[in-house]
Structure formats: C-alpha cells, structure tokens
C-alpha cells in the first residue's frame, strides 16, 4: 500500500514541477516541449510492456503455468494502452512542431503498424474458444509480434526520412539541464511505477475472472 501512496504523491509532484517549476526543454518551439515528460515515458512503458509480454509468453509456452499467460495478456493490454497514449501525445507534439496532427511520418506510420499488430493479438485471443489453445496461440503470436518492435520503434524511423526528433531529417535533441533531466528521469520512474501497479491489478483481475469464469463485473 505504501508504494502506491508514494507513487501518487510522486506523480503529483512531477506533474506540478513539469508545468510550474522547470523550464521547457531547449531545441523545441515554446511550451509544447513539456509534453516530452509524458510522451517519452509512455513510449518507454509501451516498449517495456511488449517486452514483458513476450518474456511471459515464452515462460508460459515452456512451463504451461497459467499465471504466466495472465501476465502476458495484461502486459500486452497495458502496452497497447500506453502505445496509444504515446501516439496521441505524439500527435499533439506533431501539430505544434510539424503543423498537422498526422503526417504519415515514418515514426507515426510505424507506431500505427505496431498498434495494429498488437490489436491482432487481442483479436486472436478473443477468436479462440478453447482456453489451452488460446493461450498457446497467443503466446506464439506475442513472441512473433515482439520481433517487430525493435524494427518499428528503433530502426525504421532511423533508416528512413523522418521528422521525429533525433531521426534523420530532424536532428533536434531535447536540451536538458540537470534539473530538467532529473524530473524527466523522475517521470520515467513514475510511469514505470504506474505500469507495475496497473499490471498487478490486471493480473489479479484475470486470476479472479478465470476462477469465476466472467461472472463478476468489476466496474459495478
């Protein structure tokens, strides 16, 4: 319980500091660069979640322990959520820096492809009725899906002409002094903590649902 309270306080401090205490990162127009403190941690958590999903799927395929499948599913769902949020915040940043929300820039295209690949993971899970088969198929698919992550996140935007900061056409790099960097790393830690919290809740929820076979509505 204590880490959840600490995380809540920490996240509040980060949000307040990002807007009210530190200066915007150099190298970007105006105040919009403050979105970096949310956009980058979201993208980081999405990549971490997809990696964890792949590892948990591998563990499930080796050991056939149901808990590993719960972890793989939960992690993929949260990865999809954070990836979507990173896309939305990236679009807001794109509007301010490139002039429009969506440009089909290689970075934007690759993130949409990633969302579609993981969207298909959930379609696959919902399409197979048999629990055992579903877990095996989803496990294999999760491993294959993660193989695309390094290409779509790190390689494709860097080998093609992209406007994304630090890519080929736009060498802009966030200029951060030590104070800004501390809060940026603090934001990364806070989002990672939030991911762990949500992941544990989701795994517990799946465990109970598996036990009760979907008779419980958690939102009532």
């Amino acid at each position: 319980m204590i880490y959840k309270i600490l995380l809540t306080i920490w996240m509040n401090l980060i949000i307040a500091a990002v807007f009210l205490y530190i200066e915007p990162a150099a190298g970007f127009p105006g105040e919009v660069s403050r979105i970096l403190f949310f956009h980058v941690p979201m993208a980081w958590v999405a990549t971490l979640a997809f990696l964890l999903s792949m590892i948990a799927s591998s563990v499930y395929l080796i050991t056939r322990k149901v808990n590993a499948d719960f972890l793989a599913q939960s992690s993929a769902e949260l990865g999809f959520l954070f990836c979507f949020l990173a896309t939305v915040t990236g679009s807001i940043f794109a509007k301010a820096t490139w002039g429009s929300f969506w440009n089909w820039d290689p970075r934007q295209t690759s993130i949409v492809m990633l969302l579609m690949i993981y969207g298909a993971y959930f379609v696959l899970r919902s399409a197979v009725a048999d629990h055992e088969k579903r877990r095996v198929f989803a496990g294999v698919y999760s491993i294959l899906a993660f193989c695309t992550v390094p290409f779509l996140v790190f390689i494709v935007p860097r080998i093609t002409n992209s406007l994304h900061p630090e890519d080929t056409l736009n060498p802009a790099k966030p200029g951060m002094d030590i104070k800004t960097l501390i809060f940026f790393l603090g934001s990364l830690c806070a989002y990672t903590g939030l991911f762990v919290w949500m992941l544990r809740l989701k795994v517990r929820m799946l465990r109970i649902m598996d036990k009760e076979r979907g008779r419980i509505n958690f939102h009532k």
Partner: protein, 47 residues
Amino acid sequence: MKTGLGFVAAVNLIIWAGITLYLFILDRRLKKLERRPGYRDHGGGDG
C-alpha cells in the same frame, strides 16, 4: 509562470487524481473478492 500553464497543470492533476482514485477503488474491490471463501490464490502478488 506562463499564462495557461497553471490551468493545464490543474487539469493534469485532476486527471491523475481520477486515475489513482479508480486504481485504489479497484484494488479494494479485488481484495474483497480475494477474501471471499472459496477463492484460492494460485500464487502471485498481493497487488
């Protein structure tokens, strides 16, 4: 402080407060379900 930043910060804090409140409530409900007789934990975290 630039104009509007305080407002954006307040909106963000409200959103974050909503998210954490939801997570705390969900946590409590899960705990209640896990405490019910007949529920057996298969091994794992306590959230």
